[in-house]
C-alpha cells in the first residue's frame, strides 16, 4: 500500500479540476492512499516570493507545519501541481540551507501555534511517486485499454525537473519519467525537445505577448512533430496552453488545435475509465479528435524493424542515463 499526504493546491478544484477527477479515478487501481493536509493554504505560486521573503516562506511553511502534524503513517507529501511542489520543496530546502531563514519562519509560525523542523518531510511530485514508488510495472499491469495509436508529446514543464534540490529526476533538461509512463500506457511517445521549456508561467497575465511567443514555440513544435496532443503534469502549463491557445492563434494568425491533457487523464483512460470520469471535455481545446484515434479499432501493428544501418553512416554514442556508472563512460 502506498500512503501519502496530499497537498492539492488551489487549482485542483477549479481550473485543473480535470486533474483532480482523473487522479481520484486512478487511486483505486493503483492502491494509492492520499490523505489531504487539513486546512492547507495557497503556496503563493510565483507571486508571493517576489514581494517579500519571510511572509512568503511562512505562507508555504504553514502547509509543511500542518503536514508535519499528520505524519502518523507517512512523512511524504505529494503535490500534483509543479509550482506547489517546487515551493514546498524550496521552503524545506532553504530553511535548512539558511538557518536564519528557518529560525525566522519558525518564529512567524509560532504566532499561529505551529512549528516546522526543516527536513522532516519528503516533498515529492505525483509523477515521481507514480513512477518510482508505484512503479511502471504496476502501472502496466493496470492498463486494460492501451493507448496505442495515440501520438503524444510529453510536456514536463520547468518547475518539476528544476532546480531539483533533492536530485529526484533523471535529468534537468530531458527527463524521461513522463515518456516512460506514457509508453507504459501504450501511447506513441514522440521525442519532444521542448519537454522542459517554459509555458510562459504568469506572463499570460502580465505580459501576454511574451507568453504567446512561448506558447507558440511549444505548440508549433509539437504540431511539427506530428503530435495529436500534449500531455502535462502541471496545472499552470495546462491552463496556459489550453486556455490561451485561441488568443495565441489570433496573435500570430495561426490555426493550431493542440489539445493538452493531464497525464492522469490518460492513465484513467488506459485503466478503462469513461472519459467523463477523468474530466475529459472540460478542456477548451477539445481532445475529441485526438482521442478518436484510440476510440476506433486500430489493428495491432508490428513495429517495423529498424532499417539496417547504411554502411557510410557513423555510429551514434549510447544515450546517457543518470545511473550509468562512471566506468562505463569512457573505456
Amino acid at each position: 500500500m502506498n500512503k501519502y499526504l496530499l497537498y492539492p493546491g488551489c487549482s485542483m478544484d477549479s481550473s485543473a479540476k480535470a486533474y483532480m477527477e482523473s487522479l481520484n479515478s486512478i487511486v483505486e487501481p493503483l492502491d494509492l492512499h492520499l490523505e489531504e493536509i487539513e486546512d492547507w493554504n495557497c503556496c503563493g505560486a510565483t507571486e508571493y516570493l517576489g514581494i517579500n521573503l519571510i511572509p512568503a516562506y511562512s505562507l508555504i511553511a504553514r502547509n509543511l507545519a500542518l503536514a508535519a502534524k499528520q505524519t502518523d503513517s507517512t512523512r511524504t507529501v505529494v503535490a500534483p501541481c509543479s509550482a506547489c511542489y517546487l515551493n514546498l520543496a524550496k521552503a524545506d530546502y532553504y530553511m535548512q540551507e539558511r538557518p536564519t531563514l528557518g529560525a525566522k519562519v519558525n518564529e512567524a509560525l509560532a504566532a499561529g501555534g505551529l512549528e516546522y523542523k526543516a527536513g522532516m518531510l519528503d516533498v515529492r511530485h505525483l509523477i515521481d511517486v507514480l513512477v518510482y514508488d508505484v512503479g511502471l510495472d504496476a502501472i502496466r499491469k493496470a492498463v486494460t485499454h492501451p493507448l496505442s495509436g495515440l501520438k503524444v508529446v510529453p510536456y514536463m514543464g520547468c518547475m518539476l525537473p528544476r532546480p531539483d534540490y533533492q536530485h529526484r529526476w533523471s535529468d534537468h533538461e530531458h527527463p524521461t519519467e513522463l515518456d516512460d509512463l506514457l509508453r507504459a500506457l501504450g501511447a506513441d511517445v514522440i521525442d519532444y525537445p521542448l519537454t522542459t521549456s517554459c509555458c510562459g508561467g504568469h506572463m499570460t497575465q502580465i505580459g501576454p505577448e511574451t507568453a504567446f511567443e512561448l506558447i507558440h514555440r511549444l505548440v508549433s513544435d509539437a504540431d511539427e512533430r506530428g503530435a495529436q496532443m500534449m500531455v502535462t503534469v502541471c496545472p499552470m502549463c495546462q491552463m496556459n496552453i489550453d486556455a490561451y491557445q485561441n488568443e495565441m492563434n489570433h496573435f500570430f494568425g495561426t490555426d493550431f488545435h493542440m489539445p493538452i491533457l493531464f497525464f492522469t487523464q490518460l492513465m484513467g483512460l488506459a485503466f478503462g475509465k469513461e472519459p467523463g470520469e477523468v474530466g475529459i471535455g472540460v478542456e477548451l481545446v477539445s481532445s475529441r479528435n485526438a482521442l478518436a484515434h484510440i476510440g476506433v479499432e486500430v489493428p495491432v501493428t508490428q513495429e517495423p524493424a529498424a532499417p539496417r544501418k547504411k554502411d557510410e553512416g557513423l555510429p551514434m554514442p549510447r544515450r546517457w542515463t543518470k545511473h550509468e556508472g562512471k566506468k562505463e563512460a569512457v573505456k
Binding site: D171, L314, V330
Partner: protein
C-alpha cells in the same frame, strides 16, 4: 643520567627580538629549566649564521652538551641546518630540537609580554621533549636500477626512452593493445599543426625496439609491494590469443574476421574494428589481440576464420592470462586521462542529436587514417557541413561537472576551427567563456585563426536544440547563447556542433592511486609532492607522476614531465642507495598481545601479523612514520621513533610548565 642541555634563542634580527624579549627568555631558561638539565642558555642575533652555528658547535664540544634546543624559526626552515651543525660537533643530529618562536610567536602576536610568556612555554616544551629524544641513524637501502613505467602514451614513452637511453632497463606497461595513447588518435597537433602520427610513431617504434625496454602491452599492474628502491610488482599479461613468437603482424586475421565491433577506444566510438584487431596500422607492437567478449568463436563455439587463414598458425584460442613478477627501484605513472562524458551535459544534445560530436570524435573524423579518411562530414557519412559551431569548456569550469579548466580545450577548439575551415570552407563559430592561449606560440595561432575568418562568440552556450522557431532554423542544429559582448541572446543555426570536452581523471584513478600508495586531489588527479617545486614526485618515495595523470596538460608539458621524472629516477639509480628518514614505528614483540588492532590501520602494508609467533611486525622500510598504529596499540607495544609517547607527553608537560622549579602560579 642527567642530560646536559643547551638553549639558544635567536633574535632573527628584529623578527623575533622585536616582539619577544629574547634576553628574558634565555635568562629564564637558564634559571627555571636548570632542573631539567639546561646548563647554558644563550641568545644571539642570527643563530643560523655560520657564527651562530659555531657557537653551538663550540658549546657541544667544550661544555659536553648532550641535547640542543634552538628557539628560532620553523623547523621546516632550519632544522636541517642545526642538525648538521650538531653532527659536525659529534652530536647525533636527532638530539637537536627546534622551538618555533618566530612563525608561532613573534610574527603572530603583538603584545610583547604575552609573546614573551608564550615563547618561554614553547622553549620549555622543546626542552622537555629533547631530553626524551634518542639518537637515530638514517636508514640506507640499495636501489634496484630497473624502472617500471605505467602507461604508454607520449608521457610514458618519453619517460621510458630517457631512462633506457641512459642505459637502464625499463618495463613499459600499457593496458591497451598498442602504445601511443590519445596522441595516436589525433590528426594534427597545435599550434604548429605537425602531423601527430609523423612525430609520434618514430617514438613508438623506438620504444618498441629499444634493447633496454621490455614492452608489455595488453597488460595491467595488479599488485605493488615494497618501497623505494625495492618495489615488487605483479603484472597481469592478458591473453591475446595470439602467439607472439609466430605472429608476423600480416593482418590477414583481421581481414578475415567476420565480426565487426564499434571501436569505443581508438576510434572514439566513431568507427568499427574487428573482433581480432590491432587498433591502428602503426600499432606497436604490431600483434593483434582477440577481443574475447565479441569473438564469435568464444560466444558461439564456432568460426575460427582467423585460425583457418593465419599463414603462421599464430592463433591460439587456449592462451591464458599470465602473471609476471618483476622487481624495480622506481615507478613512473603515466596513466593519462579520460575524456569527459559529454552526454552528461544534456542541454548540448550529445547522444541525442546526431550531428553533435565530441572532440575525440572530431579528431577521428579529421584524421586521414580515420573512418572517413579525413573527410569532415555529418553523421550520415556524406554531407559536408556549411556551418560548424565549436563549444568550449564542455564539462570544465562548471560546478555541475568538473570545477577545473581542462587547459587544452581553447587551443583544441582553435585547431578544429582551422581544420574545418581548411577542409570544408565552412563558416566556423567558436563559443568560449575566456580564451586561454597562454603558452609559447599559442596566441599567435589564435591570431592566425582570427585571420582565417573564424567567428568568435564570447558566451557559454546555453543549449543546442533541433526545435526550430523559423524556416531558417528548420532541419538544423540551433546554438542558443548569450553573446555577452553584444549583450544579446543569439540563436545560431549550424549543421555540425563540436564539443570541446574536458579532460578528467581516469575512471579508476582512485584505485590505481591506492595500488601505488599515492593520493588523488579532490578532483581525482594524482597529487604531486609539491605543486610548484616538486611537480613530478609524489609523497611516496620512488613513485613519480607524469602527463595528464597529474592534471590536464598539453603534449609539450606531458613530454617535459616525462623527461623530468626520468631525471629524478636516474638521480636515484645513480645514487645506488637511498636514505630513509628514521621516523618509523616498531613493535616490541614482548609486549605485543597479538590483538591485531593495528593490522588494518596501515595504508602502506607495513604491518604484518606473524601467525606462528602470534605477534605483529612492522617492516621499517615500508613504514612511512605516520604513527597511527602507535596511537592505536592498546598494549603500548608499538613505539615510534622521533615522535615517541615519551617525547610527546614530555612536550605537553613542558608546554604546560609542569617542569619548572619552583612551581610557579
Amino acid at each position: 643520567m642527567t642530560e646536559r642541555v643547551g638553549v639558544y634563542v635567536c633574535h632573527c634580527g628584529s623578527n623575533i627580538a622585536g616582539t619577544v624579549d629574547v634576553v628574558d627568555v634565555a635568562n629564564w631558561a637558564a634559571e627555571k629549566l636548570g632542573r631539567q638539565g639546561v646548563i647554558i642558555a644563550r641568545e644571539y642575533k642570527f643563530m643560523c649564521s655560520s657564527l651562530g652555528q659555531e657557537l653551538i658547535e663550540k658549546d657541544i664540544k667544550e661544555l659536553g652538551l648532550t641535547r640542543v634546543v634552538v628557539a628560532a624559526c620553523s623547523p621546516h626552515l632550519h632544522e636541517k641546518t642545526f642538525r648538521t651543525a650538531a653532527k659536525n660537533a659529534g652530536l647525533n643530529p636527532y638530539l637537536v630540537e627546534l622551538a618555533s618562536i618566530r612563525e608561532q610567536v613573534s610574527w603572530v602576536h603583538s603584545d610583547k609580554a604575552v609573546a614573551t610568556a608564550k615563547a618561554k612555554a614553547v622553549v620549555s616544551g622543546a626542552v622537555s621533549r629533547v631530553i626524551e629524544n634518542r639518537p637515530l641513524e638514517e636508514i640506507k637501502v640499495p636501489i634496484n636500477p630497473n624502472t617500471l613505467v605505467v602507461g604508454g602514451g607520449i608521457a610514458g614513452i618519453q619517460s621510458a626512452l630517457e631512462i633506457a637511453n641512459a642505459g637502464f632497463h625499463v618495463y613499459l606497461v600499457e593496458r591497451e593493445p598498442s602504445i601511443g595513447g590519445h596522441m595516436a588518435q589525433f590528426d594534427k597537433t597545435f599550434p604548429t599543426l605537425d602531423c601527430s602520427a609523423c612525430i609520434l610513431t618514430p617514438r613508438m617504434v623506438e620504444a618498441g625496439t629499444h634493447p633496454n625496454i621490455t614492452l608489455l602491452t595488453w597488460s595491467e599492474v595488479t599488485n605493488v609491494a615494497g618501497y623505494v628502491g625495492n618495489f615488487h610488482v605483479t603484472i597481469k599479461k592478458k591473453a591475446r590469443f595470439i602467439n607472439e613468437e609466430l605472429c608476423t603482424g600480416c593482418g590477414i586475421c583481421q581481414e578475415k574476421c567476420p565480426k565487426k565491433v564499434i571501436d569505443d577506444v581508438y576510434e572514439a566510438g566513431l568507427g568499427y574494428r574487428k573482433a581480432v584487431y590491432t587498433p591502428f596500422a602503426q600499432a606497436v607492437p604490431n600483434f593483434p589481440v582477440m577481443d574475447k567478449e565479441n569473438c564469435t568463436y568464444f560466444i558461439k563455439g564456432t568460426c575460427k576464420a582467423c585460425e583457418k587463414f593465419c599463414p603462421t598458425g599464430a592463433i591460439d584460442f587456449n592462451q591464458q592470462d599470465e602473471m609476471l613478477h618483476i622487481d624495480v627501484g622506481n615507478i613512473v605513472l603515466a596513466t593519462g586521462y579520460d575524456l569527459f562524458d559529454a552526454r552528461r551535459v544534456s542541454n548540448y544534445g550529445y547522444g541525442r542529436l546526431p550531428n553533435v560530436f565530441t572532440s575525440l570524435e572530431f579528431e577521428r573524423l579529421s584524421n586521414a587514417a580515420g573512418p572517413t579518411a579525413g573527410n569532415i562530414v555529418l553523421r550520415d557519412g556524406k554531407t559536408v557541413p556549411k556551418n560548424v559551431g565549436i563549444i568550449h569548456c564542455v564539462g570544465s569550469r562548471d560546478k555541475n561537472f568538473n570545477n577545473y579548466c581542462s587547459v587544452i580545450c581553447c587551443m583544441q577548439g582553435l585547431k578544429f576551427a582551422h581544420l574545418v575551415h581548411e577542409r570544408t570552407g565552412a563558416t566556423v563559430y567558436n563559443f568560449y567563456i575566456d580564451m586561454r592561449t597562454a603558452y609559447k606560440a599559442y596566441d599567435e595561432f589564435y591570431q592566425r585563426v582570427l585571420e582565417e575568418g573564424t567567428l568568435f562568440v564570447r558566451g557559454k552556450v546555453a543549449e543546442v536544440t533541433d526545435a526550430a522557431r523559423n524556416e531558417r532554423e528548420k532541419g538544423r542544429l540551433i546554438i542558443q547563447v548569450e553573446d555577452t559582448l553584444a549583450g544579446k541572446q543569439r540563436r545560431i543555426p549550424v549543421d555540425m556542433v563540436i564539443l570541446s570536452s574536458g579532460l578528467q581523471p581516469r575512471a579508476d584513478a582512485k584505485e590505481v592511486g591506492k595500488l601505488f600508495g599515492i593520493s588523488c586531489s579532490m578532483d581525482g588527479w594524482f597529487t604531486e609532492k609539491h605543486p610548484k617545486l616538486d611537480p613530478v614526485a609524489t609523497m611516496t618515495e620512488g613513485i613519480y607522476i607524469v602527463g595528464c595523470a597529474q592534471g590536464p596538460k598539453d603534449i609539450p608539458s606531458s613530454v617535459a614531465q616525462g623527461a623530468a621524472a626520468s631525471a629524478r629516477v636516474l638521480d636515484k639509480i645513480l645514487q645506488k642507495e637511498v636514505a630513509l628518514e628514521p621516523i618509523k614505528a616498531s613493535v616490541d614483540s614482548a609486549l605485543c598481545s597479538g590483538c591485531r588492532i593495528c593490522n588494518g590501520l596501515c595504508p602502506f602494508n607495513a604491518i604484518t601479523f606473524i601467525e606462528d609467533d602470534k605477534v605483529t611486525e612492522i617492516n621499517p622500510a615500508l613504514c612511512q612514520g605516520c604513527g597511527t598504529c602507535v596511537a592505536a596499540c592498546p598494549a603500548g607495544a608499538i613505539s615510534g621513533t622521533g615522535f615517541s609517547n615519551e617525547q610527546i607527553i614530555a612536550q605537553i608537560d613542558g608546554l604546560m610548565m609542569k617542569n619548572l622549579e619552583p612551581v610557579e602560579a
